[in-house]
Subunit: 219 residues, 2 copies
């Protein structure tokens, strides 16, 4: 039932200073279960990269060492803003996109796809507090947990990377496999509150979180 339907699938996850760790961990946990796959942590230069609170994760490879990943994963984080004019990185993303099977982003990572020009006139989403900014790249903004347009899938903020990659898993390997991985990570969510999107939260709270870098962790 769980079959090897892929062969040596190369998955690249981009690291950068001030990444959001859950943006990386959700997709990592889910995609690492693909049979015959390998995840490469890449960055403009190899080395340790820290999130906004000092958690350090290793990028083993530079982007120039992995020019043709099969799956390209762009996480978000408030460090994303400093990358939006990094031509070397944008060129790598554009080239990787052309040859890869899937290009996906979590949270504000979509901005990097926008800056690379590959979201123009495409449907996509991002963290709720980044939608206006993403729209400036000519993106048709969607209010969905994740959005597939061609071989690009973008997700909403932070935790949405889990839902999106389970969906991608169902496409790459199959529904039953994705169900199995969901069971493996015991993903039967029961948040103690119901305020995960602006539409469900008090307006006052939405305004405050939008202003607070400490809370959103994505500015």
């Amino acid at each position: 039932m769980i079959q090897k339907m892929t062969e040596s699938l190369k998955i690249a996850i981009l690291l950068f200073e001030n990444f959001t760790v859950l943006d990386i961990a959700g997709p990592y946990e889910v995609l690492s279960k693909i049979p015959d796959s390998r995840i490469y942590m890449v960055a403009t230069e190899p080395g340790l990269y820290a999130n906004d609170c000092g958690l350090k994760v290793m990028a083993d490879y530079s982007i120039s060492e992995l020019v043709s990943p099969d799956v390209l994963v762009i996480p978000g984080g408030f460090g994303i803003d400093g990358l939006l004019e990094n031509q070397k990185l944008l060129d790598w993303i554009k080239n990787a996109y052309v040859s890869c099977k899937w290009t996906i982003s979590v949270c504000s990572g979509a901005l990097l796809l926008g800056a690379a020009g590959i979201l123009k006139n495409r449907k996509a989403t991002t963290h709720w507090d980044r939608k206006k900014q993403l729209a400036e790249y000519g993106v048709i903004i969607q209010n969905e947990r994740y959005v597939k347009d061609g071989k690009i899938i973008t997700s909403a903020g932070v935790s949405a990377g889990i839902d999106m990659t389970l969906y991608l898993l169902s496409i790459i390997v199959g529904d039953n496999f994705a169900r199995g991985v969901q069971l493996g990570i015991e993903y039967d969510p029961k948040p103690p509150f119901n305020s995960g999107i602006p539409e469900k939260a008090p307006k006052e709270l939405v305004n405050m979180i939008s202003k607070s870098a400490r809370i959103t962790g994505n500015r």
Copy 2:
């Protein structure tokens, strides 16, 4: 509304070889938002630790450098089995538990609390596939997403660490703050399938996942 209700809260998250990255990232993302808090990544020795697929995360401190954290977080992963007789680590956990405000575990991390003897005759939970093993430590196993017993909170597998730490946040800082963090990480889960616990998955799939280290990522 979002107030500084804590002061220099020291949070220790344990790292070890073959940890589960989502077990760490969920609590990290949520707890790092506590005002005036700091998260310390600790391990028996400082250095880089790899998960089962080679993702490397840095432990900046040895456990002996942080003997009295306020919040102790024990993640799971299949590396946990190799630690259950590590007396130095078990002693550190026991001592940290006595002085700390909260001791929490994600997934199979509960086994380490069990081995340290602090779950005896207490209500607790763990990954569904580890419950029998946890029961051997005299634990009163609960079928809940997370379980609070005194100053210990244990969660179900992997992704449950997000729900548990939002709950802990509501205790430490308040409901509204926890709602704000949930909004910040856009935690409005929409899994594409409904198979996150054994009760909701086909029996055949449960048996297969239970056998497959590659899928559960916790053996």
